[in-house]
C-alpha cells in the first residue's frame, strides 16, 4: 500500500475534518455518554443511581436477554445459510450467458429494498394471514393437504421473520454477488469448459475463488446486519411476538431504554452487543487473513 509523502501537512487533516467534526459531536460524544450511562440504573436521563457493573452482571442472568440472543443467533444463522445461498443462486442464474433483460431482473429483485417499513408491516400481515394469506394460498395450491389455517405470525414466528427478510434482502445481496460474478474471467471459464470441467467443477474451481473476497464481505455484512435486526420483527409482530419468539437483541435494548426508561441497562445491553459484534469482525478478519 502506498501513501502520499509529498503533501503539505494540513492536507489529510483538512479532508478528514468534516467527517471527524460531525462524527465527534453526533456519534462519539453520545457513545461515550452511553458508556458512562451503562454503570447507572436510570429513570430517564435525570434520575440515576450508580450501580457499577451490576447492569453487566444482570445481562448474563437475564432470561429475556438469553431469549433475545438465541432468536438473534437463529435468525443470523438463517440469513447466512438460507438467504445468502439463495442470493448467490439468483445471481448465478442471472449471470448465465444468453439471459436477456438482466437490468430489468436486477431492478425487480432489488426493488424490495426500496420500500419503507410501514408498507412492509401491512404487506406481511396480508401475505402471512392465517387463513387466506397469499403465502398460505400458494402453499395450498402446491402442497396437497396443507391445512386451511396456518398460523405464521402467531405460531411460526421465526419462520415468518425469515420469509419476510428473504423478500426484503435477498435481492440486495444478489446485487453484490452478481457484480462479483460479472468480473469473473470468461476466458478461464471457457478454458475449464474445454478441459471437460462440468458446471459444478467450474463453479467450485474457477468461480468461487474469484468471488471469494466479495462473498466474505457479504457474509460479514449479513452477520453484522442480522445481529442488529430490530425494526422488521418490531413492526411485523407489533413488539416481541408470542412468547417473545421475535425478540431480538436490539429490540430488547429498545424496550429497556425507551419503554422502561432504563437507559443504563439499555446501554449495557448495547455494549454487550457491540463487544459481540467486534468479536465477530475480528474473527472474520483473522479467518480471511489466514486463507490468503
Amino acid at each position: 500500500m502506498s501513501l502520499s509523502r509529498t503533501h503539505p501537512r494540513w492536507v489529510p487533516y483538512f479532508f478528514i475534518a468534516p467527517f471527524a467534526l460531525v462524527f465527534g459531536i453526533f456519534m462519539f460524544y453520545p457513545l461515550v455518554d452511553s458508556l458512562f450511562m451503562s454503570t447507572y440504573q436510570s429513570f430517564g436521563p435525570q434520575h440515576r443511581t450508580f450501580v457499577g457493573f451490576e447492569n453487566f452482571v444482570h445481562v448474563f442472568r437475564d432470561a429475556d436477554f438469553r431469549t433475545a440472543l438465541k432468536n438473534t443467533s437463529v435468525y443470523t444463522l438463517a440469513s447466512v445459510t438460507v438467504q445468502l445461498p439463495l442470493a448467490l443462486g439468483l445471481a448465478l442464474l442471472l449471470n448465465r450467458p444468453g439471459i436477456k433483460g438482466k437490468a430489468l431482473f436486477r431492478l425487480i429483485f432489488f426493488s424490495p429494498s426500496l420500500v419503507g417499513l410501514v408498507f412492509v408491516a401491512i404487506l406481511f400481515g396480508l401475505l402471512l394471514g392465517s387463513r387466506d394469506g397469499l403465502v398460505n394460498e400458494a402453499l395450498r395450491a402446491v402442497i396437497p393437504g396443507f391445512p386451511s389455517e396456518f398460523f405464521w405470525l402467531q405460531r411460526y414466528v421465526m419462520g415468518s421473520l425469515i420469509l419476510a427478510s428473504l423478500w426484503m434482502y435477498t435481492g440486495f445481496n444478489m446485487v453484490y454477488f452478481l457484480a462479483a460474478l460479472q468480473s469473473v474471467n470468461q476466458d478461464t471459464l471457457e478454458a475449464a469448459s474445454i478441459d471437460g470441467a462440468n458446471a459444478v467443477q467450474r463453479f467450485t474451481h474457477v468461480v468461487l475463488p474469484e468471488i471469494k473476497p466479495v462473498a466474505g464481505f457479504v457474509v460479514l455484512l449479513s452477520i453484522l446486519g442480522s445481529l442488529q435486526l430490530f425494526e422488521l420483527p418490531w413492526i411485523l409482530f407489533d413488539g416481541a411476538g408470542p412468547e417473545k419468539r421475535g425478540l431480538t437483541l436490539v429490540m430488547y435494548l429498545y424496550q429497556n431504554g425507551f419503554e422502561q426508561n432504563d437507559l443504563g441497562y439499555a446501554s449495557a445491553i448495547g455494549w454487550v452487543l457491540a463487544i459481540l459484534l467486534m468479536f465477530i469482525a475480528v474473527l472474520h478478519r483473522k479467518l480471511t487473513r489466514e486463507e490468503d
Binding site: 400481515g125 468480473s183 474469484e210 412468547e243 425507551f258 419503554e259 426508561n261
Partner: protein, 481 residues
C-alpha cells in the same frame, strides 16, 4: 490481491500507462454520472423552493395530538376561537410518546396541552410520584364538580395514588357485535343469552363447514391465543386483570386462571369457537365480511372503525351486551382510551385547563365524536342527548349510543402501570403455554386445564415481579427504596 471491480480496475491501468493524458482530460470537468447530477440538482432546486415557503409561526397554546381524526374534529372549535389561540400539532403515536417522555425527563420542549393514549400514559406515570410530568388536576376537577359530572370509572386509567392526571376523552365500553342476518335467520333469540356458556350453547349450531373438507368455515368469536386485545377485554370483564389499584401485579388469580382455561377450550379441538381475525388488517376485514366469524368484541371506537372500514357489513350487524362469566356478572368491559392533560411545565396551565374543559365538556364536540366514530362521551350531562337514540343504519337501525351508555356505568376500573405492556405479554405467553400443554396432554375441559393455567400464571407473576423488583425507582407503592 484480486480486484473484482471492473470500471475502476480498468481506469487504474489507464492512469498508470498514461497518467498525464488522464489528468488533462479530467482536470477541467467534474465528471459525474447523470444519476449523480440528478441528486445534486434535486438538492439545489429543493433548497431554493423551500426558501419560498414560509411556515406560519406557531402561536398561543401548543396542543399535541396523535390522531389526525381528532384534529379535524376539533378544528372548528380551535380555529373559531381567539381566546385562547391554540396551535394543534399532529404527531404520530410513537413520536409523541418519545418526545413527551423526553420533555418530562430531561427538559426538552413540552406542549401546553396534550392528548395521551392509554398505552403510553402508563409510561408517564412511572417513577417517583413527583417525577410525573403531568399536572395533578384533582383539585381543579373536584372544585368544579367534574368528578360528579363524568362517569367515575373513566378516571381510573389516568389516576395514580389519589392524583388525577387528565380528563377522560372516552370510556370505551365493550359490546358484542353479532351477525344479525345469520343469527336471526337461524331463529336464535339473543335475549336468552346471559352467560358465555349460553352463548356457546345457543350459537354453536351456526358454525358451518361449507366446503365439506372437515374444517369449519364459520366460527363464533374473534378471539385467539395471541390476541391481546380480546384477552384483556375478557379478563377485565371477568373481574380479573393485571394490576390492583395500588399498582401491584395480580396476574396469578383464580379469575384470570379460569378465563385463560376457558380461552384454551375456545381455541382448540372440538370445543373451538374462536378464530384468528386480525383487526385493522385487510385479511381480517375480509374475513369479517365473509362471515368467517359472526361475533366481534366491539368497544365503541371499534364499532365506529368497523363501520368506516368495512362498509360491506352495513345492515348485517347488531349489538348486545357481552355474555357474562357467571349469572348476574358484568356484561361489559373496556379497552383503549385517551385523556387530555397538561404538562407540569406548560406555559399557562390555567388557559390550558380552560381549553381542555372546553374541548372535552363541549356538547357539540361530544355529539360530533359520536356521529363520526360512535364513541360515547364520559360526560354524564350529555347522556340524555337524543343523538344517542338515533338509529344507526350500519348496526341494523339500533340506537348504538344508547346501548353503549346503558352499560357504561359498569365498565371495570383499570389501574395504570408502567409494566402494563410486560404484564399483558406475560399473560399471553402463559396462555400460549397453557394451550400447548393442554393439547399435548389432551386436556379438553376447563376444570382439567385450570391447574395448568394457575401454574403458568404463577410463572408470569414471578416474571413481572422480577422485572419490577430490579427497578430501584419503581418499587411498589408503600415500599420506599
Amino acid at each position: 490481491m484480486q480486484t473484482p471491480v471492473e470500471p475502476p480496475a480498468q481506469s487504474v491501468t489507464n492512469h498508470i500507462s498514461h497518467p498525464q493524458n488522464q489528468i488533462n482530460e479530467t482536470m477541467h470537468t467534474l465528471s459525474l454520472s447523470p444519476g449523480s447530477w440528478t441528486i445534486l440538482a434535486l438538492a439545489g432546486f429543493s433548497s431554493i423552493a423551500l426558501l419560498f415557503y414560509k411556515d406560519p409561526p406557531a402561536e398561543g397554546l401548543e396542543f399535541w395530538l396523535f390522531s389526525k381524526h381528532h384534529e379535524s374534529m376539533y378544528r372548528q372549535t380551535i380555529v373559531g376561537e381567539a381566546d385562547p389561540v391554540v396551535s394543534p400539532v399532529v404527531i404520530s403515536f410513537q413520536a409523541l410518546e418519545r418526545r413527551l417522555l423526553s420533555g418530562f425527563l430531561s427538559d426538552t420542549p413540552v406542549p401546553d396541552v396534550v392528548e395521551v393514549e392509554i398505552a403510553m400514559a402508563a409510561r408517564f406515570f412511572s417513577g417517583p410520584l413527583e417525577a410525573i410530568g403531568f399536572l395533578d388536576l384533582r383539585e381543579r376537577i373536584e372544585a368544579e364538580g367534574l368528578d360528579r359530572r363524568i362517569n367515575p370509572p373513566a378516571f381510573s386509567p389516568w389516576s395514580r395514588e389519589g392524583r388525577i392526571f387528565g380528563l377522560p376523552h372516552d370510556m370505551h365500553p365493550v359490546l358484542l357485535g353479532y351477525r344479525a342476518d345469520i343469527v336471526e335467520a337461524a331463529g336464535i333469540d339473543v335475549t336468552e343469552i346471559e352467560t358465555w356458556d349460553d352463548f356457546v350453547r345457543l350459537f354453536s349450531p351456526l358454525m358451518r363447514d361449507f366446503t365439506g373438507d372437515g374444517v369449519m368455515d364459520r366460527y363464533l368469536l374473534d378471539v385467539w391465543e395471541t390476541d391481546a386485545f380480546a384477552v384483556e377485554i375478557l379478563l377485565l370483564q371477568a373481574g380479573g386483570g393485571f394490576f390492583d389499584t395500588a399498582g401491584r401485579p395480580v396476574l396469578q388469580s383464580e379469575i384470570n386462571a379460569r378465563v385463560l382455561a376457558t380461552l384454551v377450550t375456545w381455541t382448540t379441538g372440538d370445543t373451538r369457537i374462536g378464530a384468528n381475525v386480525p383487526r385493522f388488517d385487510a385479511g381480517g376485514n375480509r374475513q369479517r365480511l365473509e362471515g368467517f366469524v359472526i361475533c366481534h368484541l366491539l368497544p365503541d371506537w371499534y364499532a365506529g372503525g368497523l363501520q368506516r372500514e368495512v362498509p360491506g357489513l352495513a345492515g348485517k350487524l347488531k349489538l348486545m351486551p357481552l355474555p357474562a362469566w357467571e349469572r348476574g356478572g358484568n356484561r361489559t368491559s373496556a379497552i383503549g382510551g385517551t385523556m387530555i392533560s397538561i404538562p407540569a411545565r406548560a406555559s399557562d396551565p390555567d388557559a390550558a385547563w380552560e381549553f381542555a374543559k372546553k374541548l372535552y365538556l363541549d356538547k357539540d364536540i361530544a355529539r360530533e365524536m359520536y356521529q363520526e366514530s360512535l364513541i360515547v362521551s364520559p360526560v354524564m350531562d350529555h347522556w340524555e342527548d337524543a343523538v344517542y337514540d338515533e338509529p344507526v343504519p350500519f348496526y341494523s337501525g339500533q340506537p348504538v349510543g344508547r346501548l353503549y351508555l346503558e352499560v357504561a356505568p359498569a365498565i371495570p376500573p383499570r389501574a395504570p402501570s408502567p409494566f402494563l405492556t410486560i404484564a399483558r405479554e406475560s399473560v399471553i405467553d402463559a396462555l400460549i403455554r397453557t394451550r400447548r400443554e393442554a393439547m399435548n396432554r389432551s386436556l379438553v375441559t376447563v376444570e382439567a386445564i385450570l391447574p395448568v393455567a394457575r401454574r403458568e400464571l404463577g410463572v408470569a407473576q414471578r416474571h413481572i415481579e422480577g422485572k419490577m423488583s430490579r427497578n430501584r425507582f419503581l418499587q411498589p407503592p408503600g415500599e420506599t427504596p
